[in-house]
């Protein structure tokens, strides 16, 4: 072990006498199979209605039936295309670049399609500047095949045709007699849509366009607009920051629309002894806080004060207000580090307060932060609280003639949804463009069925100059029309929306570049801008132009060639002329700054506004669920939250101290499931009843957290997905921070929380961690020693062949795959988990099965808490407890480290041990080793003894307790024809009674090898990928062939930070980890 830390995954583990922890450590399967209950009880046996003879009859019959049924195979039909599209070859995947832009997530992606069906979202590496696909974007492909989508336009509850829809709505729009028309849309930074809306305004006159974000960034937008003139958010490039101070900004989560983690991770891997330092001030334990080098927990009101104080300490302007001493010192230290870092420092804040955001902008300007890029405006949030509030008031007053909504669900997301409903009834025309019969669309006169993002055309400008193109990857599955098509019809614009986009781009954006190329790339960047808010800056515009404009179809074409392994022919490759123009702009006083409170006025106002409440609620978005529009997505419902590891739920998070004060408990019951108390949560008289409580280590005392996105109703969701409680009614005045009262109510909630599941049998040598100082100054053996075992009373390193039970095989010939996971770069975002689901047809098992620890995730991200300074003392203290009297009070104190633990994420999948314990115990040789290093699993050979799972030290094997496909009991996505379209045809869908596990994506490595064989070429480094390594935008997962000595993975295997999990077991895994280095 690198340090004396004790790692723990749940507060329950701190209690050494806990029977449940002991049970979980000792038993692979928590629940005993109740054979004794049944067979041992003579009475119940005798009273059983099934007699022995009946039993034998059934057995005989079913055996006979099964063997008879097996004799006759089914007749399988093969139906070829009538006219096969040229770009489709059955069995070969095509990739298309497109965009997912659902109003909450905006990402450029590549979509893998098979036989015309999109089956997986992958990262578009050309578009790295816009961030990579997160878990929700990865899961969005399943939304395309949602059985509950609206399949045609509807009027009330009845289906109508588009002709009827168009004629009725057009006549109504024309007959409003000057009453205003309102377009209420999601944030749409789309040049073409905005032009269309402008044309719509011109045609119909009294039209206003209101952008609405379910989770508002309005204050950030206001502050930026006041300071820089345009509505948007400042861009940050964390790869340029060495000191990052975040006050309440979960910038590894959904802060400012997300997409910052890749740049952040770049500086987290120590390079030449340097890595960035990250200090986080926050109340809820967020992903950013979990990754921080130093995390300070404080209530939301203290955050405001801390930010003001930070401003004061950095700039030297004195401000009133005082923080508790420890906090003040933390702020002072952070300010000191920031000042020292100078332009290498950056401050971000998620406090939704104009003054706070202005203060942040000012601190960054003061620091002349290199990471701070205010000239590149992030445009993916545009909503205005004021406009939305005004709209609801106007609607209620009956002033609005028609409301046309696209991509929003205000009946669910508005805190005053009832007002909105009232207003909706007073409009003469209400149209909801929606994929679902959701809360809003069912209350509208018309539902205009819209296609999924993957069926639509679109264009977006994520940031100034960073464009992204959306193209359909499949023909619309249903009778749908997108918002823009209908707008075009209303404005009587001819042509298709694609043509319209093309004309807009050709006229204004492309500047001579090829439109088809922009569609093919999915992204188009007009120029990158430099930094420095004041003074002059240099803009370098690089425009690439096709030297030789070849005509080629934009669909398929070259991408197809590449996909089928033909590769781009040399003569087909584009040759570009690159012209670089350098423009120097002086922007010192060019912006209107009159409206901005300067010189600390904002900070002063901020400090003054910090009012401490008794208990403060911070509403947040969960990594898996976001704003809740994908609540019917079973992959996301079953996605364990990175921090709490709870699935299928949202809950009040609160600190241990507060839990005690309110008499709330979390306890693990006999089967390992977690139970929690219920509370009623009340904000300003609005009560959300029966919210379960989850005690969260690291939650600031005096604060509670609650996630958006759950508690949905309506026909848009299957019954199973209607989980959790709706937090939006508490989101009053679009303020994520509220003063709240909670009161305990009766009952206990059953969580499906995997945090205690599959523990590593009490073994501790799992995570290696050190500090940057030790890492830089000390030898490897101090912080990453190879474990030693005793051989003839001599300590021998476990890597020595003398202490090995197995003979070593020669693995030097051919490929030998290894996967490296860097604990420094992993932020725990979980994109890999969903990518693994999509690639490997991993089933969804549902909440109650999850609670029984029967989750099927092939890849889990373990989250470990640790606390350094106090923990050893605590252990001593505990050992010295004498007598019952003192123990009661002192045991309580033992949980102090739970106040503010440090967090480590560790993705764990099958370790593909070269000396695999699972292989030796399989009675039927269903799991065997391949030469290429994979531990292979032949499902059709497995008889389900589960010995392998028992013998696996990493607990990565998953057993199919049920048939999860075509089974009404598991009605998630594998139970209907539409949902099954997402399945990867190269990976078999497992049946009941077999063991399954990570295959190291053997289907992907085999494909890479085959492509190379067909081309007759050697394989280059970087060609081999697994689904998880391809999904990881942080570079935390690197996959490759260690027999290729020049490969990245070979270098990583020789790295000083490299270690194997549980190395002393001697399993020789092919998955390697890189020791976590903390900059503290």
């Amino acid at each position: 072990m690198s340090s004396n830390k004790k790692y723990w995954k749940s507060v329950e583990e701190l209690n050494e006498n806990s029977s449940i922890v002991e049970a979980l450590q000792q038993n692979e399967f928590v629940e005993e199979i109740p054979t004794d209950d049944f067979l041992g009880d003579k009475e119940s046996l005798e009273s059983s209605s099934t007699s022995r003879r009946d039993f034998l009859k059934y057995v005989g019959f079913s055996t006979a039936a099964a063997s008879l049924a097996a004799c006759e195979g089914p007749v399988i039909k093969s139906i070829p295309y009538i006219v096969q599209p040229t770009e489709i070859v059955p069995g070969v995947a095509n990739y298309y670049a497109t965009t997912i832009a659902d109003g909450f997530d905006f990402t450029s992606v590549l979509v893998k399609t098979r036989e015309g069906r999109p089956i997986k979202i992958e990262n578009n590496l050309d578009a790295a500047s816009n961030g990579v696909a997160n878990a929700r974007v990865n899961a969005s492909v399943l939304g395309l095949y949602d059985n509950l989508r609206v399949k045609s336009p509807m009027k009330g509850d009845s289906k109508i045709s588009w002709e009827t829809f168009m004629s009725e709505t057009t006549s109504k729009l024309n007959g409003l007699n000057g009453k205003p028309i309102v377009l209420l849309t999601q944030s749409m930074p789309s040049p073409s849509t905005n032009k269309l809306i402008a044309e719509f305004k011109a045609k119909y006159g009294n039209v206003s366009h209101v952008s609405y974000d379910a989770v508002s960034e309005s204050a950030t937008l206001d502050a930026y607009q006041a300071k820089y003139g345009t509505r948007g958010m400042a861009n940050y490039d964390f790869s340029k920051a060495m000191t990052i101070v975040s006050v309440g900004a979960d910038f590894l989560g959904d802060w400012q629309g997300g997409g910052f983690e890749s740049a952040y991770a770049k500086k987290r891997i120590p390079e030449n002894g340097k890595m960035s330092r990250h200090i986080q001030f926050e109340s809820n334990m967020s992903l950013s806080g979990a990754n921080a080098d130093k995390r300070v927990s404080l209530t939301p009101s203290q955050q405001k004060l801390a930010l003001a104080k930070l401003y004061s300490y950095v700039t030297g302007v004195a401000l009133p207000g005082s923080l508790p001493e420890a906090l003040d010192k933390a702020v002072k230290d952070a300010a000191k580090e920031l000042s020292k870092a100078g332009s290498n420092g950056v401050v971000v804040s998620g406090i939704q307060d104009v003054n706070a955001q202005t203060t942040v902008l000012e601190i960054n300007e003061h620091l002349r932060s290199k990471a701070f890029d205010p000239k590149t405006t992030i445009k993916i949030r545009q909503g205005s609280n004021k406009a939305v509030t005004q709209l609801v008031a106007d609607m209620k007053a009956g002033k609005i003639g028609a409301i046309i909504m696209n991509g929003v669900n205000p009946m669910y997301t508005l805190p005053n949804a009832s007002d909105f409903k009232e207003g909706l009834a007073k409009t003469e025309l209400s149209v909801a463009f929606s994929m679902k019969q959701d809360e809003t669309s069912t209350n509208c006169e018309y539902i205009a069925a819209t296609p999924h993002n993957l069926e639509s055309w679109g264009d977006f400008e994520f940031k100034t100059g960073h464009y992204s193109m959306m193209q359909p990857t499949i023909r619309p599955l249903f009778d749908t029309k997108q918002f823009q098509d209908v707008l075009m019809a209303w404005t009587e614009t001819s042509g298709t929306y694609r043509d319209y986009i093309k004309s807009v781009w050709t006229a204004g954006i492309l500047n001579g570049s090829s439109f088809n190329k922009a569609v093919q790339d999915g992204v188009f960047v007009t120029g990158s801008s430099g930094f420095g808010a004041n003074g002059s800056s240099t803009t370098t515009t690089t425009s690439s132009e096709l030297q030789d404009k070849k005509d080629r179809t934009f669909l398929g074409g070259v991408i197809h060639d590449v996909a089928v392994g033909v590769g781009i022919k040399d003569e087909d490759k584009d040759v570009y002329k690159t012209t670089t123009t350098t423009t120097t702009v002086n922007n010192g006083n060019s912006l209107d700054t009159s409206a901005v409170l300067t010189g600390g006025t904002a900070a002063r106002a901020l400090a003054a506004s910090a009012k401490e409440g008794k208990l403060e609620l911070s509403l947040y978005t969960k990594t898996g669920m976001g704003d809740g529009q994908q609540a019917n997505n079973p992959w996301l419902q079953e996605f364990p939250d990175p921090i709490t590891r709870a699935t299928w739920d949202n809950y009040i998070t609160l600190s241990q101290a507060d839990a005690k004060a309110y008499d709330l408990i979390n306890e693990n019951v006999a089967n390992g499931g977690l139970n929690g108390s219920y509370v009623d949560v009340t904000v300003n008289g609005v009560t959300v009843p029966k919210v379960p409580v989850l005690i969260q280590p690291g939650q600031a005392k005096g604060s509670v957290g609650l996630a958006f996105g759950y508690g949905r109703t309506s026909k848009a969701l299957k019954e199973e997905m209607k989980t959790g409680v709706n937090a939006y009614p508490l989101y009053q005045d679009f303020n994520a921070v509220q003063e709240v009262t909670i009161s305990k109510v009766a009952g206990e909630h059953e969580f499906a929380c995997v945090q205690l599941h599959n523990t590593l049998m009490g073994r501790g040598d799992i995570i290696k961690e050190t500090t940057l100082e030790v890492f830089n100054t000390k030898d490897k053996k101090h912080w990453n020693a190879v474990p030693e075992v005793s051989l003839n009373h001599i300590s021998t390193p476990v890597s020595s062949p003398d202490v090995d039970l197995w003979d070593e095989f020669d693995r030097s010939i051919g490929h030998h795959f290894n996967l490296s996971i860097d604990l420094n770069a992993c932020t725990g975002c979980g994109a890999c988990v969903i990518a693994c689901h999509a690639e490997n047809n991993v089933p969804v098992v549902g909440k109650s099965e999850m609670r029984r620890s029967r989750d099927m995730h092939w890849l889990r991200i373990d989250r470990y808490y640790s606390s350094e300074d106090t923990f050893k003392d605590d252990l001593d203290k505990k050992n010295n407890i004498s007598g019952l009297g003192s123990s009661l009070s002192e045991f309580g104190e033992l949980e102090d480290p739970a106040d503010n633990p440090q967090v480590v994420f560790q993705p764990v999948m099958c370790q593909h041990c070269n000396h695999a314990p699972c292989e030796t115990v399989c009675p039927v040789a269903a799991t065997v080793h391949g030469r290429q290093g994979q531990n292979q699993m032949a499902y059709n050979r497995c008889v389900g003894t589960r010995y392998c799972a028992n013998n696996c030290p990493y607990k990565v094997r998953r057993f199919n307790w049920f048939l999860y496909n075509k089974n009404d009991e598991f009605d998630y996505y594998m139970n209907d024809d539409l949902g099954r379209m997402v399945l990867n045809p190269d990976v078999v869908v497992r049946s009941r009674g077999v063991m399954e596990k990570c295959s190291m994506c053997i289907q992907k490595t085999q494909k890479t090898i085959l492509d190379a064989k067909r081309d007759g070429r050697a394989i280059k480094d970087g060609e081999f990928e697994t689904a998880c390594s391809a999904a990881c935008g942080n570079g935390a997962m690197i996959f490759g062939d260690v027999n290729d000595k020049d490969s990245k993975i070979s270098a990583l295997k020789e790295d000083d930070r490299m270690y194997h999990m549980l190395e002393y077991v001697g399993t020789k895994p092919n998955v390697i980890y890189q020791t976590k280095v903390r900059n503290s």
Partner: protein
């Protein structure tokens, strides 16, 4: 529904069909002979050789003319007689027309101009190279009467079949009768003897000895019982094993397809390369059933099979190939001149079904391995209807992997691994198995 046969010979329908076909052909032959003889007088007058004429016709004329159906040009059966009867034009006119139709037209010949206008002013290709003899050969061929399949079918139920049936029946009936008579005779003899004995007062006492019956003796001999039981069990085991081992093995599976598609004609007679239609076998895991537009590449202009092929189809396989082509047109929505847009997919029945848990990639075998399609699919070019030739079991796959060498030549991918592995195993050429082709994970994931 699916049927599985151990081998083709076990397939009763297959054998039966063959028998019928045999008799059909011989009948046809006889009939043709009769027909030919009856027309021999007409043929003798023309001095042409219809057999030569046929080959000349197929090379020169068949692109635009059918015998019985107008194509680009008019139908040619009995053209000479028709011209003589209707127009009074003789062979010299025909010769001039065939050698240079444009010349005849420009000469102002009224019938020539009429015909030219009638056939959309498309001039006929001139054939100056054809000699008088050639032309008379061709005309002799065109003068042959149309074979009348109706007559043939009618006669199919005629004498020979019945004769054969009756003769068999007679033999069987006669035998049965003989045995019957014998049995009756025996009974009668027995009765008569008994009567004699009765008359002479001899008591016919069926005196049974008090010996143990055979079955009892057998049952008492434990050794024999044991041996019999073992033999019985072994035999039962053998049959049960045999039964279970063929479950799911569909060797010989030959379902009736929605369109009677003949691989024999396409791959065999016409020599079309397999991968011409099954092009995705080169790049994909599936060989792909050709989409209908691939069929239409050729069948846009081939709407009918040649008369011979047609006759062969009718006689040997009982299928009208032209009707089968029409099925394709119906499916793709082709009305002879253009697409109607009313297409309906063809639901082929899949013959080679690997289970879902086995991954097989065609391009790996066809393109990388250079394996002939026939290695796994059998003599497709001889198959009238596609059937599963090999068992497609795992053992069958593995055997081939053990025996086949990897085609490493000129493939840069294999350079390094081949060098190292061949040194390790001390062999010149590596089998698929040595390359790792027996690992579970290579096919099961």
């Amino acid at each position: 529904m699916k049927k599985s046969y151990q081998s083709l010979e076990d397939n009763p329908t297959y054998n039966m069909k063959q028998v019928i076909y045999c008799s059909l052909t011989s009948k046809m032959f006889n009939l043709c002979l009769v027909l030919l003889l009856s027309f021999s007088t007409a043929l003798a007058a023309q001095e042409g050789d219809p057999v030569k004429g046929k080959s000349l016709y197929n090379t020169n004329c068949a692109a635009c003319h059918r015998l019985d159906k107008p194509l680009t040009g008019p139908a040619l059966r009995g053209v000479e007689a028709r011209l003589m009867d209707e127009q009074g034009l003789g062979r010299d006119w025909l010769q001039a027309w065939i050698r240079n139709s444009a010349g005849v037209i420009s000469s102002g010949d009224s019938y020539a101009n009429k015909v030219f206008a009638e056939w959309n002013n498309v001039p006929m290709t001139p054939f100056p190279q054809l000699s008088d003899q050639d032309i008379s050969d061709i005309l002799a061929y065109t003068a042959e009467p149309k074979p009348e399949p109706v007559v043939v079918e009618g006669s199919a139920e005629g004498d020979p079949v019945q004769a054969g049936g009756i003769s068999n029946d007679i033999i069987l009936g006669a035998l049965a009768l003989l045995f019957g008579l014998l049995a009756v005779a025996l009974v009668l003899v027995n009765r008569t003897l008994n009567r004699f004995a009765e008359a002479k007062d001899i008591a016919v006492v069926a005196e049974r000895e008090k010996s143990t019956p055979l079955w009892k003796a057998f049952a008492q001999n434990q050794f024999l019982v044991l041996v019999t039981a073992i033999v019985f069990l072994l035999a039962a085991g053998y049959f049960v094993y045999g039964f279970f081992m063929q479950v799911g093995v569909d060797q010989g599976y030959e379902p009736v397809q929605p369109i009677h598609y003949s691989h024999r004609i396409h791959a065999g007679d016409n020599g079309i390369d397999c991968k011409f239609c099954h092009s995705s076998a080169r790049v994909s895991k599936t060989s792909g059933i050709p989409s209908l537009n691939v069929c239409m590449n050729c069948h846009k202009s081939i709407s009918e099979v040649s008369a011979d092929t047609h006759a062969e189809g009718m006689n040997e396989y009982g299928v009208d190939y032209n009707k089968e082509i029409q099925k394709l047109y119906d499916a793709v929505g082709w009305d002879g001149t253009g697409y109607t847009g009313e297409a309906k997919p063809v639901k082929w029945i899949r013959i080679h079904n690997l289970p879902d848990f086995a991954y097989f990639n065609h391009s790996q075998h066809v393109e990388v391995g250079g394996i002939e399609c026939q290695t796994c699919h059998g003599p497709v070019e001889e198959m009238e209807i596609m059937y599963q030739h090999e068992p497609l079991t795992m053992g069958w796959c593995i055997n081939c992997h053990r025996e086949t060498n990897v085609k490493v030549k000129d493939n840069e991918y294999y350079t390094k691994i081949h060098e190292e592995l061949s040194k390790k195993y001390g062999v010149e050429e590596l089998t698929v198995a040595q390359m790792g082709g027996l690992e579970c994970g290579k096919c099961h994931y």
